[in-house]
Symmetry: C2
Subunit: 273 residues, 2 copies
């Protein structure tokens, strides 16, 4: 009980309070790009952010929703470690939350972008480059898959997709915090790969090579994307190989996150075969 009597976060109950307005602003692309910050929500995400080098700037809670004991413990731990925060009035938390079953805790994090020049690929490393991924849900799912497959870093090429979009954050299930993210142009990516001795493998339904037949030198950078119109000519031209996943039935394509999973897991298993 002594914890409950300790210092508490200040209450925010006015919708015009600048602290609440900042949270709302971070739900927009403009807010995220201007501030370099983003929002996460839910016990699992906040707990994982705390374990990672992910930089938690502040937290927001709604004690009336935070009934889970693990969540309450987490909130106390955050407060004791000196991370600033606010308590949102229930109405404001409800206005803010995107969760179907809100758990009453969220945080503001700093976006982490890795500069291209700092990347030194190891001999057996696998990299992933994404082009024209429009759905934030797909993007988040791909980040989660990439971590599971042991990808060393993810390039967002000429990207409009925002990995810090709430739907991408949610689908990434926390993989966002530990994954190296690099934003660059096709040219910068190709130059980097060339100089570092990477093999660039693009995936396209029009690829001449069955992905299972590919035997190439590591390290590898796999390129996927183009949910609607396929990969650009630009990226196919700088690739060493273009592979396809053979399809049966009347399918001419599969979901881009599924395709990324099929290719990444095949590559990681080839490396060990």
């Amino acid at each position: 009980m002594e914890v409950m009597h300790g210092d508490k976060y200040p209450v925010v109950s006015q919708s015009r309070d600048s602290r609440f307005l900042t949270l709302r602003f971070l739900q927009t692309p403009q807010g995220r790009s201007r501030s370099g910050l983003y929002l996460i929500e839910g016990i699992r995400h906040v707990a994982r952010a705390l374990e990672q080098p992910a930089a938690i700037e502040s937290v927001f809670v709604d004690p009336s929703l935070l009934s889970n004991p693990f969540g309450q413990k987490l909130a106390r731990r955050l407060r004791k470690s000196g991370i600033p925060g606010i308590r949102l009035a229930p109405q404001l938390y409800r206005d803010l939350t995107l969760a179907g079953e809100p758990q009453g805790i969220g945080a503001v994090l700093r976006q982490q972008w890795t500069p291209l020049a700092s990347l030194e690929p190891t001999r057996n490393s696998l990299w992933l480059a994404l082009e024209s991924i429009e759905s934030p849900g797909n993007l988040g799912t791909i980040l989660r898959t990439a971590e599971a497959a042991g990808v060393a870093g993810v390039f967002l090429i000429d990207a409009e997709a925002d990995p810090y979009d709430p739907a991408a954050v949610r689908a990434s299930m926390g993989s966002l915090f530990s994954q190296k993210l690099i934003r660059c142009s096709t040219r910068e990516f190709a130059d980097w790969a060339r100089r570092r001795g990477l093999t660039i493998v693009s995936s396209s339904p029009a690829g001449l090579l069955d992905y299972r037949a590919l035997r190439c030198q590591w390290p590898i950078a796999l390129v996927v994307g183009g949910e609607k119109h396929g990969l650009s000519e630009r990226i196919v031209e700088v690739s060493d190989f273009t592979v396809r996943i053979p399809m049966r039935g009347r399918c001419d394509s599969i979901n881009v996150a599924v395709a990324a999973g099929v290719l990444l897991f095949e590559m990681t298993s080839q490396c060990r075969r």
Copy 2:
């Protein structure tokens, strides 16, 4: 021009018109389960339904949105082939549509469920069984992946998931029309598989066998599911093998549609190796 002067579908402009209300009702789980019908939307979906044995009951169009020449041709073809339909007033179509960029054409289709007893697996056939898939988007993505991997049929085990939910229909990209769908209990599925000599392979993060190490007799039924809590004990008990996809990083799982893709494509390629 003569086509424009030919018979046209009757106009529906009142929101209390029973024909409009029927369409709305089919957007609900109750409406679909009571009628055995469902809705599809968009040129691509309607065109694909027309090519398939999928039974189109009726169509609805909004001529003010149907500007694509291929879409207009499609609407004429449907009308000429005697399929009944209505023209919805723009306001009603807007109320009904779930599309971000509505194309002005949709259809009512009859659900097609295949009875378990009629299924005779061929020697090299691959089957997919789904348990506890809650997200209709995941379900649709899995149906699309299953078709691309040459799956012979998809079992929905003790399912609450509805493959005819609009989000599932959309994500399936038309694979729904050609895929055999079977609804049954775990017991019925296991009995069928046993009698027909299928190997049941479950996928679980707790599986003892790396999926790449599995060599088993065909035909195979792969079981995936349990987005939140994993597969049930019931289904694991009736399985011949339980495999896992080894994960790196801090991931303990990947998206269920990605997992299905990784496993199905590995299996189809093993069959040919």
